[in-house]
């Protein structure tokens, strides 16, 4: 086990690669990921299905060795220093199970018996709102209750680092909100959280920083606001540009003008300036713009642009903001 001063970074991933299979069937799921999580922050790894989020997270969890690159959790190697890392880390898998014939209480007591310094089972039950389900067998739990039991086990050892793989997938909106509140409380306690998700709202709500994965690489990273700022805002109206308007591409701060599905879309680097110029031109020309809407760039627009393939070109990937 490595001994050193407390690390500045709770999670540090450098040049991570992970491949499956060999020879002609080999598939590289993670293709050189760099990522850091600072103490007391929440980082969301966002991506479409198959982007490589879980494959990357499993290496951070110590469940699989990297094919190449280096991973440190709390300054330690999660495989070589497994005992120390596991004692200070809580892991929630994307899908996992518990023996169906045990009760909720028995499951937590079993989990508690394997830990160096667990908190009282009753506290974990109360935090996850499972106190009145303590004597219910696991097979009788709903999907949301099962996920909460899973979370209770994850947090039983009061971990410093929490790794959550799609923590709210399959949950109803109320359960999802509860999990979000819980993650916020973890951050308030000083925990570092790395979570994967494909829910944009989840990443925007919870994360201090968001890393967007696509095809095994991180193609954008930053705060939700920074990611939006890098991306153009949009102005849309119905129909083609009416006669009486000047050339839309010549308006202030316009990046691109497109016409599709019977609508005109203007991408702008300065929403207020472009919108002001457009409305002034429309007023001057006596033109009414039907269905006019203007939106700042959101994580959604960034994500959709990436998911639709705008970043599949390797040159674009290499030039992308890591």
């Amino acid at each position: 086990m490595t001994t050193s001063a407390p690390p500045d970074l709770h999670i540090e991933v450098r040049g991570l690669r992970r491949s499956y299979g060999t020879g002609t069937t080999a598939f590289e799921a993670v293709r050189g990921v760099d990522l850091v999580v600072e103490p007391g922050t929440v980082v969301a790894l966002l991506g479409t299905n198959g982007a490589g989020k879980t494959s990357a997270l499993e290496v951070v969890e110590g469940l699989a060795p990297p094919t190449a690159g280096e991973v440190r959790v709390l300054g330690l190697d999660p495989v070589a220093d497994r005992a120390e890392v596991r004692r200070r880390t809580g892991v929630l898998l994307q899908t996992s199970g518990f023996p169906a014939d045990l009760t909720v209480g028995e499951t937590l007591r079993m989990w508690s018996a394997t830990m160096t310094a667990p908190r009282p089972v009753e506290d974990a039950l109360a935090e996850l709102d499972l106190t009145d389900r303590v004597d219910v067998s696991v097979r009788s739990l709903s999907g949301g209750e099962l996920r909460r039991l899973d979370l209770a086990c994850t947090l039983l050892g009061e971990p410093e680092v929490v790794l959550l793989d799609e923590p709210t997938t399959g949950l109803d909106p109320e359960s999802r909100r509860r999990v979000w509140d819980l993650v916020a409380r973890l951050r308030d306690r000083g925990c570092s959280v790395l979570l994967t998700t494909h829910h944009l709202e989840e990443a925007e709500t919870l994360a201090d920083r968001v890393a967007i994965m696509h095809a095994g690489r991180i193609v954008r990273e930053g705060t939700p606001a920074q990611l939006g700022a890098d991306h153009p805002s949009t102005i849309r109206f119905e129909g083609a540009a009416p006669a009486g308007l000047p050339d839309l591409a010549g308006l202030t701060a316009v990046r691109r003008v497109a016409a599709d599905h019977g609508r005109t879309t203007i991408e702008s680097d300065d929403l207020q300036a472009t919108l002001t110029a457009l409305l002034a031109a429309a007023a001057d020309g006596g033109v009414r713009l039907a269905g006019l809407e203007a939106r700042s760039a959101t994580l959604e627009s960034v994500f959709l642009a990436i998911a639709s393939g705008a970043h599949t070109d390797d040159r674009a990937l290499e030039g992308a903001d890591r």
Partner: protein, 258 residues
Amino acid sequence: MTTLSLSRTAGLARANATLVVRNKLTLTYAVVIPLAPLLLLLLGDSGDGSNGAGAAAIVTALMMAALFPVFYNLLSQLVTRRDELVLKRLRTGESTDAEIIASLALPGLVIALATALVAVPFAMLLGQPAPLNPLLYALTVVVTLLLFAAFALWTAAWTKNAEAAQITSMPVILLAVLGQVAIGFPDEVRRFTDLTPGAAMTDLVRVSWFGFGTDDVERTLDFAGTWSAAGQPLLVLVAWAAVAIYLARRSMRWEPRS
């Protein structure tokens, strides 16, 4: 990962024991089947050594203890828990791989050891002799149980699901019972069947408890003689255990194939 924390292993084993007790069918297989052959002692030779029925009853009880609470119970638990992703979940906690496996095997091992232990006073009560070489008897029991636990781990690696375990368990069951079945076979065949773990275990129990030489049904060995008579079958049993442990370590799978 080879370290073993007793408290962690005991904590997991307690939960696994609860699961065995809670499932009536598993409990029946694990407890009744190993103990039932001992009832044959009530109908046996009452210790007069006329037909070796007492030895056969005890050998059968020990073989059933190795096959059901240890081999089959561990095999079905490993396959089921792996399919349900319980094993993968356990590996995310502080428990080491060795602790997870030991905790799954422990309830069955305890039942099998208890069977081997209970067999002694029960048999003596019904007129059978005390084990002639208790140390050799204990060694036989321990190596046999470890061997069949390792067989369970190896078989689980290529068993798709709990239903498939009914078929994939057959080769090991055959290796276990062939030694007893083949007692009446010609010597040319016996030379090969004697190399099975079941035959080696049978010979070792007959030697260590009853002092029977090969094919004898009456005591022909003294204490020192049991050690020399045990040489070949003990070597066979240990060799099988080494192979089984090697195969188990190489093939262990913690989650279903994707």
